[in-house]
Point group: C2
Chain length 203, copies 2
């Protein structure tokens, strides 16, 4: 995350540079032209010919054009460098995308191993069951922390965005289009349905 | 993933546009200047005064400067738009970063629930143990698929990059600086150590 912030900081630094460059272009545009016009007026009274004055103005404009062109090319190069950097960052993000979830799973794995090891010489099923249920709750908590929620089931109106109807049946208890049985739980990751539930719907 | 490819395609499309723009600048630079010089020569023999000719050249240069400036400002705006889009993309990537891992965990959760449900009326510990061990292997497989590996332990030379020494002990069996006992497993995600193992090292 801190690396991420650093990247954002670099980015805003670059934006500032870009803005400074844009201002520079503005000043090339206005100040220098004003200068050359002022110079032209001064020259008129000092014996410099009209032709020399115009030629100087042309040289000035050519230099300004050159400067603008360089600034454009730099902006263009900046954009390409930024693209390259962004692509590398995305690759890294994809490569380690599961890190947070995996880190959260490690204590679950530890406890799972302990529960299995303890069960090797245990004859008491209830202690084993308890241990296993604790590990399961811990696993559920990891998923909750990642933003995983269970899709609402029996008693809810059928919604094709999160339910998959595998059976239909008349029901005296429910009005039409309600979920009356769930065969497999569905799950959402934040606002995204990652697995619809498999359900029986009242007709 | 296919969305990712699409983004890359858009990006290269933009690069092409940028390159086309760069070529356009080049042509503003060379062709137009050649044209105005050619025009100047033509004018010399057609009664247009030297002053009019120079003034025309100045107008021409000013127009070219204006065009270059607009191209620079567009490139600058493109860069800012690109940044905005990239930041949105990164946000999305972070938001759903655990999706692949979570999807792979759902069948583990299903089987875990089944094993616990089956254990409610089972008096036979061995059947329960078997079911639980199966779930555990499945969970390990999910982690393997994500690129998680166990840090090498007992018998390996101590490496501060992946081992955390919590005890030291003289050993007749091992030479100095070897891992002689492991208290907690360490894990790597691809090439990155996400949890060093806690070990006892021979002195």
């Amino acid at each position: 995350m801190s690396e991420e912030n650093k990247k954002t900081a670099e980015t805003s630094e670059e934006i500032k540079q870009q803005e400074a460059a844009a201002e520079a272009v503005e000043s090339v545009h206005s100040e220098k032209s004003e200068q050359s016009e002022a110079a032209a007026e001064a020259n008129e009274s000092s014996g410099v010919t009209r032709e020399e004055e115009l030629l100087a103005q042309i040289e000035q404009l050519k230099a300004e054009k050159e400067e603008l062109n360089n600034q454009y090319l730099r902006a263009h190069a900046d954009l390409q460098n930024f693209r390259t950097r962004v692509n590398k960052e995305k690759e890294q993000m994809l490569k380690y995308s599961s890190q947070r979830a995996v880190e959260a799973l490690l204590p679950v794995i530890d406890n799972f191993e302990r529960a299995i090891a303890a069960s090797q010489d245990a004859q008491d099923t209830s202690a084993l069951k308890e241990g296993i249920e604790m590990v399961f709750r811990q696993l559920q908590q990891v998923l909750e922390q990642e933003g995983v929620t269970v899709v609402p089931g029996v008693g809810e109106p059928f919604d094709p965005n999160m339910h998959q109807a595998v059976m239909q049946e008349e029901s005296s208890e429910y009005e039409s289009g309600m979920i009356i049985e769930e065969f497999q739980k569905g799950y959402k990751l934040k606002d995204r349905v990652i697995r619809p539930s498999m359900v029986k719907v009242s007709s």
